[in-house]
């Protein structure tokens, strides 16, 4: 009975690790899509109403969910009360605090965008947003591809590793 319980626990634990890896792939896609939705909204609003950034960040926060919403919300709060800080530092802090599940490529793209926003005329910022969206789209496609390709592999590996351990140990 104890052996059976142990075998079950090993398999379940190992499978959970596999599913966690799958979950990370899904979270990355979700966060990239959330950030893209916010940036796309900002691009449209900049092209039309030329709203100030605190307002744009607030709208992006309302239009998104989860960590991307938290990220835009932190930017909105920070820019509404600058208190001597620069947008670049607020943007960087928000990226840290919101803990977006992004890879280096997406993170680098956002960090670069943070150096442009708020410093130039509307059209230049809109172009920077469009460029960032283009890059993010590439990242999203890659993330989706990885989720599709590696998702099943990780799940299967988790279960298989559990079963292997059971056979090996018992």
């Amino acid at each position: 009975m104890m052996r059976l319980m142990g075998a079950l626990l090993l398999t379940a634990g190992s499978s959970a690790l596999g599913w966690a890896a799958v979950r990370h792939l899904e979270d990355r896609v979700q966060d990239v899509e959330g950030v893209m939705a916010g940036l796309a909204l900002m691009e449209r609003e900049l092209g039309w109403r030329m709203s100030p950034l605190p307002e744009l960040f607030g709208q992006a926060a309302q239009a998104t969910r989860g960590r991307p919403a938290e990220f835009f919300s932190l930017c909105a709060q920070g820019t509404a009360h600058l208190e001597g800080r620069t947008l670049r530092s607020i943007w960087g802090q928000a990226l840290e605090i919101a803990q977006l599940r992004l890879e280096e490529e997406e993170r680098g793209c956002l960090e670069q965008l943070g150096t442009v926003l708020g410093r130039y005329d509307g059209e230049s910022q809109r172009q920077a947003l469009a460029h960032a969206l283009e890059r993010m789209e590439g990242c999203r496609n890659q993330a989706r591809e990885e989720r599709k390709r590696l998702g099943k592999v990780y799940a299967m590996l988790g279960v298989a590793a559990g079963l292997f351990l059971v056979i090996f140990l018992l």
């Binding site: 605190p54 607020i90 708020g118």
Partner: protein, 301 residues
């Protein structure tokens, strides 16, 4: 608002170190503060009682000046590009930042400032009640006359116009409030900040800013059904044409003009046309004598 509080409020756009240095000046200096001056390589200074008082602080660097613009625009430079092109940015509270430096040009037109050299922050401290002695003379029964305010620069035309707008808009003294449309091209009368006037211009006043006076007057006339239209500094023939159009629609007008007297006005084509057309019925001439402002109201036939 006390002037000391206004100075510290205006100084909030400065980097923290400079802000602390300004607020560390003596109360007597802050109470008379009119402007803050930032020049590269020099410590920030407060203009008060006719002279500049340096703060006990390091010299200003260009990064400080850029940060002031970032703070003033709430990290949204695109919202103040037009103002930057004109060389000033309006802050919450009606304070105004004047910018100076090297202009970047594209196709012959100034686009923005490539390098900032200095910044002047004019501390706003609006004066209410200056129109009290004038407003009664602009009425005839239940009718308000179209009025031109005339004075040399710095004599207080804009202050008088703002207070007239407020007084007419709020009514009182047995007079009904009037709907006032204010075409505030340079934002000097109402000092709009994110859609809200920073100076008191009355509860029945609609302000159009960010566009030319002629455009603003025309839009107000078409869209807001004003009883009075107010505009600061008529200088261009298109402004005069817009005023003539409005006068033809039965709207009372309030406008200001640079000039030393009626004769001076009649010499200049833009104003001569308005006077000959009977657009204005009252002329208020402002004079500053020994630090005291005096107003003279006369009828225009």
């Amino acid at each position: 608002m006390e002037r000391k509080t206004a100075v510290c409020e205006a100084a909030q756009v400065l980097p923290q170190e400079l802000y602390r240095a300004v607020c560390a000046l003596s109360s007597a200096q802050l109470e008379q503060g009119e402007e803050l001056r930032l020049r590269r390589g020099r410590p920030p200074a407060l203009v008060a009682a006719g002279r500049e008082w340096d703060t006990d602080c390091r010299g200003v660097v260009e990064e400080d000046l850029l940060q002031v613009v970032e703070q003033a625009s709430q990290a949204s430079a695109h919202t103040v590009v037009d103002q930057l092109r004109q060389g000033f940015v309006t802050l919450r509270g009606g304070h105004r930042i004047g910018l100076c430096g090297t202009m970047a040009r594209r196709q012959g037109e100034g686009t923005t400032l490539r390098h900032l050299g200095s910044i002047a922050i004019r501390v706003a401290c609006p004066v209410e009640g200056v129109a009290e002695g004038v407003v009664g003379q602009l009425w005839s029964g239940t009718c308000i006359h179209s009025t031109l305010l005339l004075a040399p620069p710095g004599a207080g035309k804009t202050t008088l116009l703002r207070d007239l707008v407020r007084t007419l808009s709020e009514g009182g003294g047995g007079r009904r409030p009037l709907r006032v449309g204010l075409a505030d091209e340079r934002g000097e009368v109402a000092a709009m900040w994110q859609g809200a006037p920073q100076f008191s211009v009355g509860c029945h006043t609609d302000v159009m800013d960010g566009c030319s006076k002629a455009e603003g007057l025309s839009m107000l006339l078409r869209g807001m059904n004003p009883q009075v239209l107010a505009v600061d500094e008529i200088t261009h023939p298109s402004d005069a044409a817009a005023l003539e159009e409005a006068a033809g629609c039965g709207v009372a007008l309030l406008a200001t003009a640079h000039g030393s007297g009626r004769e001076d006005l009649e010499r200049r084509p833009v104003y001569r046309r308005l006077l000959e057309g009977g657009v204005f019925r009252r002329l208020v001439t402002l004079r500053c004598q020994e630090g005291v402002r005096r107003y003279q109201v006369e009828g225009l036939a």
